[in-house]
């Protein structure tokens, strides 16, 4: 399931207006309110990572509003900030709505001043004014002092939006440049001069002498001195600190922070997969079975006859294939719902803080946890959020790591196949798979950090948003949105993929219907070439190989293909058919089933992830990432298969013993190598020095 990646609106418009502001001030909320769009919002800085435009009707004029990623100043540190700044720089004659959070007005105004230095036409919209804000502001006084229109708004409701719309319609006229800025530079092009003082690479001339580093502080001091002046004159601040909460005493406790996070995650997965989600899913399965499936089947039988290829297409590709995934609708929607609650609550920043300990070590940042968590939902959209990273190599690593994470498209496979072979113990199998995905991601990052992709300047600078209660109304809206998107995905991508796979598996190379002509199907042809690769992993049937190939397009297709190949629609009987040697996809033992699950978890990103990955990290690293994934998947599946087979053959403890012995040897070898490295070699030659 995906959120919309971009929604460019190419239709005609009279005028463009940009939404600019600090991260997490409510730009996207205002954007959604004004344009009626439904873009993703959250309580995290950097939810929006690319520009999004949409036209709306403003008293008869068509205005194109552009929502930009949040920025702190007009010099970028991370990738999504660069997107915003590039856009602002490329549209100098465009009106800007600068959104400020009233609770954090001091720092928010620093960006406003930056925009004024640039000579932009700024409307200052002060947001979050209705809920007992930390600062009380004399808006009229501020308006007179800054000589720009100041509007008091509440983007969640509609307060102040009418006035904002009226201001948007005024013609472009640059706002006055503040006096302090003119004094600072004594030049006509104030903005460029200030950017030179700030050492902004885009403004430094090649041969011109570089000002001392302290000029960066000089500019900041000038800005903040002016803000202090404004504060004294126009604000009354309470002593409260924005984002500070008593909850943090527990949730950020040095020793409790991480265990609590793991508990929260475990709770989410338990609710999604084993209690609430499972009941809903079983209910839906029952409904689908008695109504929808039977009805279409009977209809086809009566209209086309029992053996016509049309009947087979409907029964196999549509009923069997699609309904095998459709029953997971409640669980997928729930998982996304929980992730969005987590995101809205403000808790993720705390998690990021606690994870900096681990992620800093492997060259990522605590912020990577956001990307990885979103990866549990959908890796395609999660990869985009890797733009939150400040360092190029960290960004690549975070993006590549995300593809290892077990996304929501993969878990129906675990439930069906794992459920058949492991019964009640499937809880542990699913847990193992989720942890394996995470471990593989972390290991790969650690290896890349040590070898070719060392992070040079990954920093961790993160602002803490306040905790926020997540309302029932918003939760329902998010759930409904996810149900809708899931249905669209099933109805379009999965359905068409099923039809393709069905055609390949039911027609031979000379396009005759296999059931009538008895020739080999196209899929059988391809599958049989590739199947031998998977024999060492324990699943050498061509059906399994074909399902994996088809699964490259979307991971759910692995399951829908299996359902189609085995001619069954409900998960219970698909599971049973997997143990039956006469069915097309067949696993001889639990070991081979588990190995198949491990392989499906890791083997490659889906098509849409691969496309985004290529765009975000470039051709070379996308290719390397996919190859590494395939190799890791193969090795892991091989390992799991053989260990499991060992357990089946020799018993649990014997296998544990063998593995422990093997691990000790490997560990000892590594130790010996590191000892030699430390002492500048072994002394026999001078090669190591």
């Amino acid at each position: 399931m995906k959120r919309k990646i971009s929604s460019s609106n190419c239709s005609f418009f009279d005028k463009e207006v940009l939404l600019v502001g600090n991260p997490n001030t409510g730009k996207t909320t205002l954007f959604n309110k004004l344009t009626g769009a439904n873009e993703h919002v959250g309580n995290w800085h950097g939810v929006t990572v690319e520009e999004k435009g949409k036209t709306f009707d403003c008293f008869g004029q068509k205005i194109r509003l552009v929502d930009l990623p949040g920025i702190y100043s007009l010099s970028a540190l991370s990738y999504e900030e660069q997107v915003a700044i590039d856009y602002i720089r490329a549209h100098p004659k465009t009106k800007i709505i600068n959104i400020c959070d009233i609770n954090n007005l001091q720092r928010n105004l620093a960006l406003t001043l930056g925009l004024l230095e640039m000579g932009a036409d700024v409307i200052l919209a002060v947001n979050k004014t209705s809920k007992n804000p930390i600062n009380k502001v004399d808006f009229l006084g501020l308006e007179k002092q800054l000589k720009i229109p100041v509007v008091e708004i509440e983007a969640n409701k509609t307060q102040g939006l009418e006035k904002l719309k009226e201001l948007v319609l005024l013609p472009f006229s640059p706002s006055p440049v503040p006096e302090y800025a003119k004094k600072l530079t004594n030049q006509t092009d104030v903005f460029s001069a200030i950017k030179v003082l700030e050492h902004d690479e885009n403004f430094l001339q090649k041969n011109a002498p570089l000002p001392p580093k302290s000029t960066i502080e000089l500019v900041a001091n000038a800005r903040y001195n002016y803000i202090s002046f404004l504060q004294k004159k126009f604000f009354t601040s309470s002593q409260k600190v924005y984002g500070k909460s008593k909850l943090d005493k527990i949730l950020l406790n040095r020793f409790l922070a991480f265990p609590i996070f793991l508990l929260v995650l475990a709770g989410i997965f338990y609710l999604t997969f084993f209690s609430l989600g499972k009941w809903l899913s079983d209910g839906l399965n029952f409904l689908l079975d008695i109504s929808f499936g039977n009805w279409i089947e009977k209809f086809c039988f009566s209209v086309f006859g029992q053996n016509s290829w049309i009947t087979h297409l409907f029964c196999d590709a549509i009923i069997d294939g699609v309904s095998s995934v459709l029953t997971f609708l409640p669980q997928v929607a729930l998982l996304f719902g929980f992730l969005s609650i987590l995101e809205d609550s403000g808790y993720l920043s705390r998690v990021a803080f606690a994870s900096e300990d681990i992620f800093g070590k492997i060259g990522l940042s605590g912020k990577s946890i956001y990307t990885l968590l979103m990866g549990f939902g959908c890796s395609t959209t999660a990869i985009l959020t890797a733009r939150n990273m400040e360092d190029k190599n960290s960004k690549i690593k975070t993006a590549l790591a995300t593809t290892f994470i077990s996304c929501s498209a993969k878990f129906p496979i675990y439930v069906v196949i794992g459920g058949a072979f492991f019964g009640a113990n499937n809880v542990f199998v699913i847990m193992f798979l989720y942890l394996l995905g995470l471990a593989a991601a972390i290991l790969m990052c650690a290896m890349l950090e040590k070898t070719v992709l060392k992070s040079k300047e990954q920093s961790f600078i993160l602002e803490f948003p306040p905790y926020r209660m997540v309302g029932a109304k918003r939760t329902i809206k998010v759930l409904w949105e996810n149900v809708k998107q899931f249905l669209i995905r099933v109805g379009s991508l999965l359905l068409s993929m099923n039809v393709i796979v069905w055609v390949l598996s039911n027609f031979s190379f000379d396009f005759s219907f296999v059931l009538e002509s008895g020739k080999m199907s196209m899929l059988e042809g391809f599958g049989k070439v590739l199947a031998p690769i998977f024999v060492p992993l324990g699943f050498g049937s061509y059906g399994a190989a074909s399902a994996l190939i088809a699964g490259f397009v979307a991971k759910e297709v692995i399951l829908t293909s299996i359902a189609m190949f085995n001619n069954l629609s409900d998960s219970q009987s698909i599971g049973n058919s997997l143990k039956d040697p006469s069915s097309m996809v067949f696993f001889p033992s639990p070991a081979s089933a588990l190995s198949f699950l491990v392989f499906s978890l890791l083997y490659c990103p889906c098509l849409s992830s691969a496309v985004v990955l290529r765009k975000e990290v470039g051709k070379k690293w996308c290719f390397v990432g996919i190859v590494v994934q395939f190799v890791v998947a193969y090795l892991m599946a091989l390992l799991v298969f053989n260990v499991m087979r060992g357990v089946e053959m020799f018993g649990f403890w014997a296998t544990v013993g063998v593995i422990a012995a093997f691990a000790t040897i490997v560990f000892a070898l590594f130790k010996v190598i590191s000892v030699f490295k430390k002492k500048n070699g072994c002394g026999n030659c001078r090669g190591c020095k």
């Binding site: 100043s73 720092r107 502080e217 924005y242 950020l252 803080f353 920093s459």
Partner: protein, 75 residues
């Protein structure tokens, strides 16, 4: 004079300057975020392995990698 990473939890310090090892980009960002000379900061939390530090500044909460906090001089 000490750096922010050594600050005691709960105590208020004021910023006196920045160490030279901070890169231009990071220094600029810290300045943008309101870490200016004379500004008061109060450290409130550290992570388990002390790799990250959380503090109050200008009425909001900001967390930093400890390595970067080492570049912020306080007293």
């Amino acid at each position: 004079m000490q750096n922010l990473s050594e600050a005691k939890i709960g105590k208020t310090y004021s910023i006196v300057g920045f160490d030279d090892f901070l890169s231009v980009k990071v220094l600029r960002r810290l300045c943008d975020l309101g870490l200016t000379k004379g500004q008061k900061v109060t450290v409130t939390h550290r992570s388990l392995l002390k790799k990250a530090i959380l503090f109050e500044i200008r009425g909001y909460m900001l967390s930093l990698k400890t390595l970067l906090a080492k570049g912020v001089l306080v007293e």
